[in-house]
């Protein structure tokens, strides 16, 4: 403002352009604004908007692929549990002794060994393919990430071995069967994540 002072100390102006454009708010409005900003997603640069759409789409595809993989494991295991016979057994023929010890003979539920050793060929193919490229992909990861992945896979492998041993002793245990399926799914998830993380343009 470029106004002049009147005789009583009050500011006089001769043009509207001399009026102050800026008027300070009577209180600090920032704390309320800041609190409201907390609930709003940070603004994304316009230049990367297309990239972020691509990333979202890629993440969605990744999850779909993982979900499909998990589904194929589950379906494979279910098929194995429901339809395929035990190795060495004659379909529909069980010895009275085994039928007495095996609760599945009464309920018609599949045995643990069915679940543990029969898998969908597509799952086997995908797993084998992921394992083939695992070393190369691990080499592309930062050392800290590589160590984490290795530790996870070792833990999963130990869990699988423990569960299979336990199922050997208690083939009808539904909880052990479920845990084994979950462990296979965990392994597939880690392998898929390693593949995605080591692909160009993707990150952990």
């Amino acid at each position: 403002m470029t106004g002049r002072e009147g005789p009583d100390g009050r500011t006089l102006v001769k043009s509207l352009g001399e009026l102050p454009q800026s008027i300070e708010p009577p209180r600090d409005l920032w704390p309320t604004i800041e609190a409201r900003l907390g609930g709003i997603e940070a603004p994304a640069p316009a230049a990367t908007a297309a990239q972020s759409i691509g990333r979202r789409r890629s993440a969605r595809l990744r999850w779909l692929a993982a979900a499909a993989m998990i589904a194929s494991v589950a379906v494979g295991v279910w098929i194995g549990r429901s339809l395929l016979p035990l190795p060495g057994a004659v379909p529909g023929a069980r010895s009275p002794a085994s039928a007495a010890n095996d609760t599945s003979a009464v309920t018609g539920a599949p045995t643990a060994l069915d679940a543990a050793y029969v898998a969908d060929p597509r799952y086997e193919r995908q797993r084998a393919e992921l394992l083939r490229s695992l070393q190369t992909r691990l080499a592309a990861l930062p050392p800290a990430s590589r160590a984490k992945v290795m530790a996870s896979l070792e833990t999963i492998q130990r869990a699988k071995e423990d569960l299979e041993r336990a199922l050997g002793r208690d083939p009808g245990n539904a909880l052990l069967q479920e845990l084994l399926v979950n462990t296979y799914q965990d392994e597939m998830r880690v392998l898929t994540d390693v593949r995605e993380a080591s692909d160009p343009g993707e990150g952990i």
Binding site: M1, G3, R4, G6, R10, T11, L12, V13, K14, S15, L16, G17, L19, P20, Q21, S22, I23, E24, P25, P26, R27, L29, W30, T32, I33, E34, R36, L37, I40, A42, P43, A44, P45, A46, A49
Partner: protein, 184 residues
């Protein structure tokens, strides 16, 4: 440092803050708020004539600006962009609380300068401006106080340029009556 250099330096500084704010840095956005809050609040207060509403409009202006930061082109003035948002927010808030007044006939002519015959106290002239009808006051505030052209003010207000000029004529006539002196 020349005035132009100072202006460039301010723009550079503002550009750096904008870049940080776009990346989600609320501290940088706060500094932009501190720089522009007075002008935004002044505009909102003159458009709404209500302290509480003006505070709400100022807050909404900066919230909307944060949401839209990604779309702001750094080639244009941040101040003008914020004023556009403030005008939209103020008009929307005012529409909720009062009916829209009929627009005057379009005009091809409008006062170029806004001077009074003899110096007037700021408070007196602000009161006279505050008493103007909404449409006339909006056009006057944007054009005579904030220096926007007829076309820019019309665009911000969402009216035809001729209507904006007619509102300015009306504002001059009413100010002349209220201040008891010629307004050129």
């Amino acid at each position: 440092m020349t005035e132009a250099q100072a202006g460039d330096s301010r723009v550079d500084w503002e550009g750096a803050l904008l870049q940080r704010a776009r990346a989600g840095d609320t501290r940088a956005f706060e500094r932009l708020y501190r720089e522009h809050a007075g002008k935004v609040y002044g505009l909102c207060l003159r458009m709404t004539r209500d302290v509480q509403l003006a505070e709400d409009c100022t807050q909404d202006t900066f919230i909307n600006a944060w949401r839209a930061l990604a779309g702001f082109e750094t080639r244009s003035s941040l101040s003008t962009w914020l004023h556009r948002i403030a005008v939209n927010v103020s008009l929307a808030k005012r529409r909720k609380s009062s009916p829209v007044e009929p627009a005057p006939e379009e005009s091809e002519d409008a006062p170029a300068a806004w001077t009074v015959e003899t110096p007037v106290e700021v408070e007196e002239i602000e009161t006279a401006i505050g008493a103007l009808p909404d449409g006339a006051r909006d056009a006057l505030v944007l054009h005579a106080l904030y220096g926007y052209s007829h076309g820019e003010a019309a665009q911000m207000l969402g009216i035809a340029e001729g209507t904006c000029k007619a509102q300015l004529h009306r504002a001059r006539k009413l100010l002349r009556e209220r201040l008891g002196m010629e307004v050129n």
